[in-house]
């Protein structure tokens, strides 16, 4: 009996895992750098495109296994190449300036990156499902599961736990938290706040690109993916509470399952489901499940 529902559960969890990856970077960057990066979705699609391109190249050369490696390499490349660059040039200029400017700058960046991807990769969809096929399937309890889905769930757990450990236990995590709680005080203590911001932003870029890379074997990568993802990432991050990593995880699970249910009962509305969930959550809790707003001191 249970076995009949297990595939639905795994589907929902795997979907949740991908959703978690696309949202966690956004919420992390917001929590630390206090910037909601509208271009976040573009890093996701860049990660997807790049890993397809590299993966296809490697698979074509007769090393299909390396297409799996491409899934982690591409995001690293993107994060290293673009993270510090964008943070130092565009974002740093907006610190301390009105929030409206920050939105406009990241929105402008989004427009630029979307078209650059169109120019670089064209408008035809890319797909590369070698990593998924390579991992094959497992037979558990009489049901067949895609190992790739299990990998996604596992990786999401690993990343979630790593982030938590990073922030709560590691030295870097303590620096990040110090800067978040009281930036001025942190600076006077000698903490290099700009470096912390750069690091946090780059981690966010990595997580976005990683999400895209992991998603690429399951979807067709085409223009418009970035836009689709940024609104979804925002919806999930908003449901969980902006800046709350645990919130993003819970929200991802919530959205993943409602989406899986929607596919069974009302498939045409499946794309709209995350936003309906967001609407309901925000009406009840305006700042998300774990979010809160501080009152200004007067």
């Amino acid at each position: 009996m249970f076995a009949n529902y297990a595939p639905l559960v795994v589907d929902g969890l795997a979907d949740a895992a991908l959703i978690f990856f696309c949202a966690v970077g956004l919420t992390l960057v917001f929590g630390v750098v206090r910037i909601l990066n509208v271009a976040h979705g573009s890093f996701y699609s860049l990660g997807a495109y790049l890993s397809v391109v590299i993966g296809s190249f490697l698979a074509g050369r007769g090393w299909p296994v390396l297409s799996l490696v491409a899934l982690i390499m591409s995001p690293l490349l993107i994060a290293l190449a673009l993270g510090p660059l964008i943070e130092r040039t565009l974002l740093r200029w907006t610190y301390g300036r009105p929030e409206a400017l920050q939105i406009l700058v990241t929105f402008g960046l989004f427009l630029i990156l979307e078209d650059l991807q169109k120019l670089a990769f064209g408008v035809q969809p890319y797909s590369q499902d070698v990593p998924m096929r390579l991992l094959g399937t497992s037979h558990i309890g009489g049901m067949v599961y895609l190992n790739y889905q299990l990998l996604l769930i596992g990786l999401a757990l690993v990343v979630g736990i790593c982030l938590r450990l990073l922030l709560k236990k590691s030295r870097i995590g303590k620096l990040i938290i110090a800067v978040v709680v009281d930036e001025e005080l942190a600076r006077t203590l000698g903490i290099d706040a700009p470096r912390v911001f750069m690091l946090a932003f780059s981690i966010g870029v990595f997580l976005a690109a990683f999400g895209g890379a992991l998603a690429s074997p399951t979807i067709g990568v085409a223009p418009g993916l970035g836009a689709e993802i940024i609104v979804l990432a925002f919806a999930v991050a908003a449901i969980g509470g902006l800046g709350q990593i645990e919130g993003a995880a819970l929200a991802a699970i919530l959205v993943g399952f409602t989406r899986a249910l929607a596919i069974y009962f009302a498939p045409e509305f499946q794309p709209v489901v995350p936003y309906l969930v967001m609407l309901v959550v925000l009406i009840v809790r305006p700042y998300g499940l774990f979010g809160s707003v501080g009152l200004r001191r007067i």
Binding site: F30, L36, V38, L90, W93, P98, E99, A100, L101, Q102, I103, L104, V105, F107, G108, L109, F110, L111, I112, L113, E114, D115, L116, K118, L119, A227, E228, I230, V231, F234, A235, A238, L242, E268, P271, V272, Y275, M278, L279, L282, I283, P286, R296, I298
Partner: protein, 312 residues
């Protein structure tokens, strides 16, 4: 001061197509985008950025299509009024929820709603025509069925008249207590509350007005082009509107139209060269304006006027 500019713009935009006829269409579209961008600019006054205002542009446009197809309204003026009314009502309802939020949350919620609308427009084929969209037949005017050419001319004139009228009205609104309170919100919302003023109420009013403006813009565009498609709600359109608003500057209502005309002209001439990278160009232009020209073109004109005052 603003009155002078908008009248000059209207007269130039009205007369130029006499010698260059195809500019009439370009200018009508510029007015439609300008109206929507004016909506964005109004919210910018309150420190709020809507990066999803294409939603109301699309609502206005599709409202025209539905009014023609399902309610069988033919008259241009009724269509424009009806579509604007419908969009204003939608803005009023969405605004009720939206006014709880500020800054990035507000921006992203607007984006999210506009993209959801895009998805719905694309998927609900039997209602909306799906990705093909809907045809918009040439409306009548006061009972007369005009030829396409005469109609385009009439629409063009009507658009310019609406532009001038709305600039005057919106400038009045922006200078009124309700409009100035909007500007006060993002400087010190707490103080405004301690004046007994409801910040939410002020924003709600502004949001409703801005939705109505965008709806009128969308309606004019629908009638001018003769066709509505889901892409009208896509984030790229919102991006253009934001750029126009920022380009035009938020000092006065005229700014949005200066920006809109500028952008439509640039697009017309650049279409052969840069159609593929249009969004990237908009993005770059947005960044340039933010970094180098924070008061927009309107501010630039004002600065020039100060350096070279009119000698009369």
């Amino acid at each position: 001061m603003p009155v002078r500019y908008i009248l000059i713009l209207a007269i130039v935009a009205g007369l130029l197509p006499i010698t260059v006829p195809w500019l009439g269409f370009v200018f009508t579209l510029a007015v439609s985008k300008g109206l929507a961008a004016l909506g964005v600019a109004i919210l910018l006054r309150g420190g709020l950025i809507s990066i999803g205002h294409a939603l109301y542009f699309a609502v206005g446009a599709y409202a025209v299509a539905f009014l023609i197809r399902d309610i069988h309204i033919d008259d241009l003026l009724l269509l424009l009024a009806g579509a604007t009314g419908i969009t204003t009502a939608v803005g009023f309802l969405v605004g009720a929820f939206m006014v709880r939020y500020r800054a990035i949350f507000f921006a992203m919620l607007n984006l999210a709603i506009s993209m959801v609308f895009f998805t719905l427009l694309s998927k609900l084929y039997y209602i909306t025509g799906g990705t093909d969209g809907l045809r918009v037949a040439t409306p009548t005017l006061l009972g007369l069925q005009l030829s396409r050419g005469s109609f385009d001319l009439t629409l063009h004139v009507a658009a310019l008249v609406l532009m001038v009228a709305l600039v005057l009205l919106i400038d009045r609104y922006l200078k009124s207590p309700l409009g100035e309170a909007l500007g006060a919100i993002h400087t010190n919302e707490v103080r405004l509350e301690y004046l007994g003023v409801s910040a939410r109420g002020v924003i709600w009013a502004a949001y409703t007005v801005s939705a109505g403006l965008a709806g009128l813009g969308g309606a004019i565009s629908a009638v001018a082009i003769g066709h509505v498609v889901p892409e009208l709600s896509y984030w790229t359109v919102s991006g253009q509107l934001v750029l126009i608003a920022v380009l035009g500057g938020i000092a006065g209502a005229t700014g949005a139209f200066i920006g809109a005309f500028f952008l439509e002209l640039v697009r017309t001439f650049a279409v052969g060269v840069a159609a593929e990278a249009w969004n990237a160009i908009i993005g770059v232009a947005l960044l340039i304006v933010i970094f180098f020209l924070p008061e927009g073109l309107y501010g630039l004109i004002q600065r020039l006027e100060r350096h070279w005052p009119n000698t009369k």
